[in-house]
Symmetry: C2
Subunit: 333 residues, 2 copies
C-alpha cells in the first residue's frame, strides 16, 4: 500500500428526477481498520448495474442508499488483511464494497471467489449477471426447444447471456435493444435469430415480425411499454420472468402499469414471476459448471465493457441507464 488514503465517491443527494454527476462527489478518507469479524479489501473492479439506480428510490430487496454516504455497489476485491476466520490476504472476494478503493466489510457479507482469468469474468458471466440470466431464464422462464424467447435490454450484461443460453436450449431467440449497431451485433456475433430496435418507433409491429409465432417466454429487464407490447403478444401459458424495470428507474416512478394486466394474464393463463438471483444461490455450483462448459465450448460469448478510473463511475452508471453499454459494464480501479 503506497498511499494511505481511500478515494471514495459519495452520493450527496438522492435524485428526484434524472440522475446526473452532480448527485455525486469525490472524497478522501483514511483507509479503514477492520474490526473483529471484518476483512480489509482493496477493490479491483466495481460492478455497474441498473439496480444501483433503483436503490435510490427506497428499500428494495436491500435497504435504500442514503445521501452523504459512500455509494453502494458490488465489487470484486482482494483481501489486504483479515480479522475473520476463513479469509486471508490475497483472497479474491465479491461483496458490496461500495464505490471506493478500500473497504472494511463483515466477512459474513462476502463470497470467496475462485481465481479465474480474466478476473472480470467474476463480475460478468460467472457473477451476478450470468447467474441472473441462468436462473431467470431456466428456472423461471422454463423454455422448451422450439419455443420463442424474447429478451429486452438484450445487449446488456444479463440480456446478452439470456439470449445465448436460449439459443443453446434450441429456442427461437429475439432480442430487443436500442440502435441498429447493437441489433446487428446480437445477430452476427451472438447468434440471435431476430432483433427489435426499440428506438426505431414501431416496436409492436417489429416484435410481431420478429416473433411471428408469438412469445412463449419473455425475459423482462425493462418494464414499461416494452413489457406491455410483449404481454399482448404472449402465447397461451406463456411465462414472463420479471428481472428488472430499467425503463422505470431513472426518474419519477411511473404512475401506471402495463395495459393487459390482469385481463390478458387471465385469458392467456400467463405466469408473471419476479425473482432475484440471491434466491437461487444454493444451486450456484451447477449453474457455474454449465456456464463454464458453454464458455469453454465457444457457445457462450462473454462481452465486457471495462472503464478505467474510480472518478468515472458516476458517468458510467448514467451511461448504462441510457443504454450505452454492450455487455457487462464495470470500473477498473
Amino acid at each position: 500500500m503506497a498511499n494511505s488514503t481511500n478515494r471514495q465517491i459519495l452520493l450527496v443527494e438522492k435524485p428526484t428526477g434524472k440522475l446526473s454527476t452532480d448527485h455525486f462527489k469525490m472524497a478522501e478518507a483514511a483507509i479503514p481498520e477492520p474490526k473483529d469479524g471484518e476483512v480489509l479489501l482493496r477493490v479491483r473492479y466495481i460492478s455497474l448495474d441498473a439496480a444501483n439506480r433503483a436503490w435510490m428510490h427506497g428499500a428494495t430487496y436491500r435497504s435504500a442508499v442514503e445521501a452523504n454516504t459512500v455509494m453502494a455497489g458490488g465489487g470484486i476485491a482482494e483481501v489486504v488483511s483479515s480479522k475473520a476466520p476463513g479469509f486471508a490476504a490475497g483472497d479474491i472476494v465479491f461483496g458490496d464494497t461500495g464505490w471506493q478503493e478500500y473497504a472494511a466489510v463483515p466477512a459474513k457479507h462476502l463470497s470467496k471467489m475462485p481465481r479465474i482469468e480474466p478476473m472480470t469474468h467474476l463480475l460478468s458471466v460467472y457473477g451476478i449477471a450470468g447467474l441472473t440470466a441462468y436462473f431467470g431464464l431456466l428456472h423461471v422462464g422454463q423454455p422448451k426447444a422450439g419455443e420463442t424467447v424474447v429478451v429486452s435490454a438484450a445487449a446488456g450484461s444479463v440480456g446478452s447471456i439470456v439470449g445465448q443460453i436460449a439459443k443453446i436450449k434450441g429456442c427461437h431467440v429475439v432480442g430487443i435493444a436500442g440502435g441498429k449497431a447493437k441489433c446487428d451485433w446480437l445477430k452476427s456475433d451472438l447468434g440471435f435469430d431476430a432483433t427489435v430496435d426499440y428506438k426505431d418507433g414501431a416496436a409492436f409491429k417489429a416484435l410481431r415480425a420478429a416473433a411471428p409465432k408469438g412469445i412463449d417466454v419473455y425475459f423482462d429487464n425493462v418494464g414499461g411499454d416494452i413489457l406491455e407490447a410483449c404481454i399482448a403478444q404472449m402465447n397461451l401459458r406463456g411465462r414472463i420472468a420479471c428481472c428488472g424495470a430499467i425503463s422505470q428507474y431513472d426518474g419519477v416512478p411511473s404512475a401506471t402499469g402495463p395495459r393487459g394486466v390482469p385481463g390478458l394474464i387471465v385469458v392467456k393463463r400467463l405466469i408473471m414471476q419476479g425473482f432475484i438471483v440471491m434466491d437461487y444461490m444454493d444451486q450456484r455450483d451447477q449453474a457455474l459448471k454449465d456456464l463454464q462448459s458453454w464458455v469453454a465450448a465457444g457457445k457462450l460469448k462473454v462481452q465486457e465493457d471495462v472503464i478505467a478510473g474510480l472518478e468515472n463511475t458516476p458517468q458510467a452508471l448514467i451511461g448504462l441507464l441510457a443504454g450505452e453499454n454492450r455487455g457487462k459494464r464495470m470500473i477498473k480501479l
Copy 2:
C-alpha cells in the same frame, strides 16, 4: 312440450360503453331440430357471469359473441331428445345453451351432470363457480395455514367460496366487497375474519388494517385499483391468482394497468398467474368430492341468487356487473 316456440334473447348490438337492456331484445323462433350428433335441450337455469360481458369485447378463451345472435351463456338443461350416443331424454347437462328456452347443441360440448338437489347447486358450488374457487385458490394461490388470503368480489359466486375454503385451510381471510351489508354478511354468516368495503373510499388503508401482516395470497376477481392496492401490500413470495377483472369489463377497457407491475413483482418475487377452470377439469372428481364433504359438514355455505323469467336475464347481468348479487346469480326458466 305444450308450446312450440322457443323464446330467445338476442344481443342486438355490441356495447361500446356501459351495457344496457337496449343492447338486447326478446325474439321467438321455432324449437330447433337436433342434427346427428346433437341433443335437444330444455334450459332450466341460465348462469350469469361477469365473463358474459367480457365476451362482448372480443375473443377471449372463447370466440367473441356477435350481434344479432342468441346471447351466449352457460346453463343447466334437461335433454328432450337426443341424436347422440350417451345422451337420453331426461338427462341433466351443463353447456353453452345461450339465453333461450330450447337449444340444439353438439353432444361433444355438453357435460352430463349428476342428479343433485337442489339442481341450482350444479351452477353454484358444484359448477364453474365452485370449481373456479377451488382450483384458483388451492392450485394457483397455494395458501398455507396461518397465511393471509385476500379475495375481491368476495360476496360473489366465486369469492364467497374462495373465502370459505381459505378458512377451512386455516388462513386469515379478508374479503373485499361493496357495501356494509355484504361485508357484515361475509363476517357473520361466512366466517371471514375481516372485510374491506371498497365503496367506503379508503380501500388501501382499510386493507392495511384488515391484513396487518400483509397479503400472502390474493385471489383477484376485479383487477384495476383493488389489484393495485393488493400488489402494494403483498408479502415476499406472495401469489396472485388472476381469475377475472370485473372492474374492467363493463365499459371501455382501461388504457393502463396497475402500478407496481413489474417493479414490485421483482422486488417481492411475486407470482401473478392467470387461470381458467377448464384447464383443471381432469381433476374435477377430487374437487367435487372435497366440495361435497365441506357442504355436508356445514363448513361451506352455499349462497344463491335465483331470479325467475328469461325476460329478466339482461337486467340480471347488468345488476351483477354493478355488484348487486350475493352468491351465485342465475335465471330460472
